[in-house]
């Protein structure tokens, strides 16, 4: 049985539906990300789990018990807020101790657990600092310690890393994953950053306009996007208009000068999408001209003007000669690397 279960959750504000028909089963110890652009309903869903908002429809169950019937103060969930929401008038240790105090944990045990929680997030020795005297990264760690010290059944993270600079964010991602693995807490992360979602999660829930677009492992959502939205949102992708020609035998899928055996069961105009790193330069294939060539250290980024419109190509910097700007090239890819959408069934 699933540990945390969301079944047909919907939230309406007046006439506006913010979340609709959201169903998800989370296993114990799993790390799930809600990924989507702002306004897609991911934070609203998180707030319904936390109990700050009541769902208009649907059920939320934790270990089979109805969670919506429990007051938010009694749900025992740990939450890290985007703004951290630390108590500025309390020291780091007092902040972390607050949840234990509310649970009437004995003073001596409290002190021990606070010390351990701060040590776990790498803040040993910062017990008596006030939040406003700490850096953003340190405040973030205090917020994490405060959420974890109460041994929450589920840890909810609301864009916790979005206020940190890029380097610190990467460090925190690794650390967050390590901490989550060590204590094996079921975790739900809300984020709009696809890299963050991919590097942290066991499974990603891609959301758009209040609905789930796809649920899958990071690899699945990246390699086998269920919709155009998912492929656009998770990393860069090239969409080419193509046609499936069934007049000749065997049938062919044709995009400009590139062609391949047609997939079974489709005909007519289709869209093929290929990740930039799966496209190579060859002797035959889609005709294109390099518009710009950008060196990015470990790889080259090419913007091309192809027969089927603009195309992005990424090539490893493996020491091979790379085409220069203005050069005419042929773009090739393996048929199994592309996704095909649309088309009539044949």
């Amino acid at each position: 049985m699933a540990y945390l279960e969301l079944e047909g959750i919907a939230k309406q504000f007046g006439a506006q539906t913010v979340v609709d028909d959201f169903s998800l089963a989370v296993g114990k110890g799993e790390f799930i990300s809600f990924l989507g652009p702002s306004g897609c309903g991911k934070t609203t869903t998180l707030q319904m789990i936390a109990g700050f908002l009541d769902p208009t429809r649907g059920a939320i169950r934790l270990e089979g018990k109805d969670l919506t019937a429990i007051h938010p103060a009694k749900r025992g969930l740990g939450i890290v807020f985007q703004s951290y929401a630390l108590f500025p008038h309390m020291t780091a240790a007092e902040n972390v101790a607050f949840g234990l105090e509310m649970r009437k944990v004995a003073r001596s045990e409290r002190a021990e657990r606070v010390r351990a929680a701060l040590a776990m997030v790498g803040l040993a020795g910062y017990e008596d600092r006030h939040p406003r005297r700490m850096s953003g990264g340190q405040q973030q760690r205090v917020a994490l310690a405060r959420a974890l010290v109460i041994k929450p059944s589920v840890l909810l993270l609301d864009e916790p890393l979005s206020n940190l600079d890029a380097k610190l964010r990467e460090e925190m991602q690794i650390e967050l994953r390590q901490i989550q693995r060590t204590i094996d807490t079921t975790t739900i992360l809300v984020t709009h950053d696809q890299n963050e979602a991919m590097s942290l999660s066991d499974r990603i829930v891609v959301m758009s306009q209040g609905r789930i677009e796809q649920i899958g492992t990071p690899q699945e959502t990246y390699e086998k996007p269920a919709s155009a939205f998912v492929s656009q949102f998770l990393g860069k992708t090239n969409d080419f208009a193509a046609t499936i020609d069934r007049t000749s035998a065997p049938a062919r899928l044709i995009a400009g000068s590139w062609s391949a055996p047609a997939p079974a069961g489709l005909s007519g105009p289709v869209t093929v999408s290929i990740r930039p790193e799966r496209i190579g330069f060859g002797d035959t294939g889609l005709g294109a001209k390099i518009i710009t060539r950008i060196f990015q250290g470990n790889h080259w980024l090419f913007q091309c003007d192809s027969e089927c419109g603009p195309a992005t190509v990424i090539r490893q910097n493996d020491g091979e000669r790379q085409p220069v700007e203005g050069e005419a090239v042929r773009l090739v890819w393996r048929p199994e690397d592309m996704g095909v959408r649309g088309g009539a069934s044949a």
Partner: protein, 291 residues
């Protein structure tokens, strides 16, 4: 940069702020200095003001218990008014802050409305409501069964505190409201998720963070109440004088300007001491919240 240019640059701030400084010196510092000097002059029924340096007025204020009572009453009224505005104003601001959009602006206008009306008009309104034993307030309280006999409001300190508290309320509400605006909007949810109930959230999380706002509001209300003139003059009348009405009477009725100047100077000095002192205390105490 040349030495001359550097000199010019150093003078620029002074030149630019000169008009404001001159106004400040002209209409505030000079009259203030003249008032202080006036308090050391002599005065007689028939000789008028004599520009000599004597300590007669100060000696009279310090030794005559009449003045001690007056100043004690002034500060007692100011403290009670401050307490009343804090007790009513802080929850008022909290409720206001939790209201949604349209209602918030309506009630903000209701709270600020009194500031648009002259203090004299507002206090006269209170005088009408108090109006002796048959005043509206007393009738209401008696019919509600809260009191048996009418409370004397007119010409009493109770009436003054009530009317002053109404006049001063906007300053307290605005000050607390400003502090509430600085709260993290998720801070209550954070406390809630950690298991705190509504009372605990207000007592342990909200109160400590808005305390600086309450205290700065208290400083404003206290200093304005202690130096208030119109309200004590109308509600207190001739019988119940405070420092401001006493200074006024000395100036305009007795025509003993030097004594009035001494009362005014003492009031000013006491207020400055109290305000500066409490401000320093608050800033030290709440250093972490202010940062």
């Amino acid at each position: 940069m040349s030495v001359a240019a550097e000199e010019r640059n150093a003078r620029a701030p002074w030149a630019l702020s000169a008009p404001a400084l001159m106004l400040f010196v002209g209409v505030l510092l000079i009259p203030l200095a003249m008032t202080v000097m006036l308090s050391f002059h002599d005065w007689g029924q028939y000789k008028g003001i004599e520009p000599v340096f004597i300590l007669k007025n100060w000696h009279e204020i310090v030794t005559d218990p009449y003045y001690a009572e007056m100043f004690w009453r002034t500060f007692r009224i100011a403290i009670l008014t401050t307490l009343l505005t804090a007790v009513l104003g802080a929850p008022e601001a909290y409720i206001l802050n939790r209201m949604s959009g349209r209602w918030k602006s309506v009630f903000l206008l209701v709270i600020l409305g009194p500031l648009l009306i002259s203090v004299v008009a507002r206090t006269l309104g209170w005088a009408l409501l108090f109006g002796g034993n048959n005043g509206l307030v007393n009738k209401l309280l008696m019919s509600a069964g809260l009191i048996r006999a009418p409370i004397p409001f007119m010409f009493t300190e109770t009436g003054m505190v009530v009317a002053l508290a109404h006049v001063m309320m906007p300053f307290m509400v605005l000050s607390v409201w400003a502090a509430l605006q600085r709260l993290d909007p998720q801070i209550e949810n954070a406390a809630l998720s950690l298991g705190a109930g509504p009372v605990t959230i207000i007592r342990r999380i909200i109160m400590p963070q808005i305390m600086p706002g309450v205290l700065s509001g208290a400083i404003i209300v206290f200093s304005l109440s202690a130096s208030a003139f119109a309200t004590p003059a109308i509600i207190g009348g001739r019988r119940l004088k405070v420092a401001a009405t006493l200074a006024y009477d000395e100036f305009l009725n007795t025509l003993n300007w030097p004594l009035g100047a001494a009362v005014a100077t003492l009031l000013l000095a006491a207020l400055v001491l109290i305000v500066v002192g409490s401000n320093a205390l608050i800033e030290r105490r709440y250093a972490e919240v202010f940062r």
